[in-house]
């Protein structure tokens, strides 16, 4: 057998292997996609728990980033009494969502109630989780509807 034939056969085998691997990888999440998006490889927990440090930072960060016109420049200094009120998936959206509430100590010295929903694949270009937070009584523009309805279960 000549060297060129051997080389082309090796190339063919490599191509076939690559094809099988690729289809396997693509097909895998599709098979397990009863209650998850077809492209999702997220393991459990699909979204972090309500009182993880990353989530606490994200809630405080989102409130702190709000336009001063909207919240009057108030920020969250501490969060306590964190409760998970619901966890949904496939109802009807395949994205997992966790709904949480907490008592927020705010920079004006008052304690308020903050609601937040952590959602799967809602980060930058849908890669990671993200959340929406709404402080009860501090949503004058009704961004989250009355009494923070859209971030409550």
């Amino acid at each position: 057998m000549s060297a060129s034939v051997r080389r082309s056969r090796r190339l063919l085998v490599a191509l076939a292997c690559g094809l099988i691997l690729a289809t396997g990888l693509v097909a895998q999440p599709v098979k397990a996609s009863d209650d998850r998006p077809y492209f999702s490889w997220n393991g459990e927990p699909r979204v972090p728990a309500c009182d993880t440090p990353a989530v606490r930072r994200a809630v405080a960060g989102q409130i702190a980033r709000a336009d001063p016109d909207y919240l009057g420049g108030l920020t969250i200094e501490d969060m306590s009494r964190v409760v998970e009120t619901a966890y949904t998936q496939g109802r009807p959206s395949p994205y997992a969502r966790r709904f949480c509430e907490a008592r927020a100590q705010m920079s004006d010295g008052r304690a308020r109630h903050v609601y937040y929903a952590i959602m799967e694949h809602s980060g930058f270009v849908g890669v990671s989780w993200n959340l929406r937070a709404c402080v009860d009584g501090l949503d004058p523009w009704r961004v989250y509807d009355a009494r923070c309805r859209t971030v409550r279960p």
Binding site: P45, R81, V83, E84
Partner: protein, 224 residues
């Protein structure tokens, strides 16, 4: 024949007489529960994994489906007489606590139904407003140190009912064996009840202590 008919006529009278007697006997016992007129409090702590295991699918999802499982939660703060206890003192205060009041208790009483029920059955007899009553409940719970063994238990185990009491006694200086009771249900640890004065100091309470678990060994299911 005649005798039997006579008996048949007599029976309703006899029943009526019995009922009357019962009513007479129980009338003085049925005292009117006046809110605020009671002797001490019992703080009842419920081992959440036992509740979730025994109720299965009927359990409150808020309490039993959370990503971070609950361990000891507050069942309630119950006003007590030296013997017996007042309940459902209706006509005093609102029938239901405000939505915000219920919401703010969910971290230590993770069930809205439970919070409302505790107000109706026990809180209404405390003579306090719902806000004050639940603040007091929170204060009472903050006073109790949950033993480390229950704070970081990972797997289920069998335990002496007395060992549970000992663990609480060691974690809480001033708390004695006769000031608390461990209760069990279906062979599982269900509650730890602790007696407190109206100023939330530990105190002994024979009637509560006596109603404790009669089993020697009980199962302590793990938070899942």
């Amino acid at each position: 024949m005649v005798k039997r008919r006579h008996g048949a006529v007599c029976r309703p009278f006899l029943a009526a007489a019995c009922l009357l007697l019962l009513a007479l006997v129980s009338a003085p016992a049925a005292r009117a529960d006046r809110p605020g007129a009671f002797d001490y409090y019992v703080l009842s702590l419920s081992w959440s994994p036992s509740y979730c295991a025994s109720r299965g699918r009927n359990a409150d999802p808020l309490q039993c489906r959370a990503a971070k499982p609950y361990r000891f939660i507050v069942h309630g703060l119950w006003p007590q007489y030296e013997r017996g206890y007042p309940d459902f003192c209706e006509g005093f205060g609102p029938r239901d606590p405000a939505y915000e009041t219920v919401r703010d208790m969910l971290d230590i009483m993770p069930s809205r139904g439970l919070v409302r029920h505790q107000w109706r059955k026990h809180g209404s007899c405390s003579g306090l407003s719902p806000d004050r009553y639940f603040d007091l409940t929170r204060k009472a719970f903050a006073k109790i140190r949950i033993p480390a063994a229950f704070r970081d238990i990972r797997s289920g185990s069998r335990m002496d009912a007395d060992a549970v009491e000992t663990a609480f006694r060691l974690a809480n200086p001033g708390l004695r064996d006769n000031a608390m009771a461990v209760s069990c249900e279906h062979d599982r640890l269900s509650e730890v009840r602790i007696c407190l004065t109206r100023d939330l100091e530990f105190r002994s309470c024979r009637s509560v202590d006596r109603r404790g678990c009669r089993q020697k060994q009980i199962h302590v299911p793990a938070p899942r």
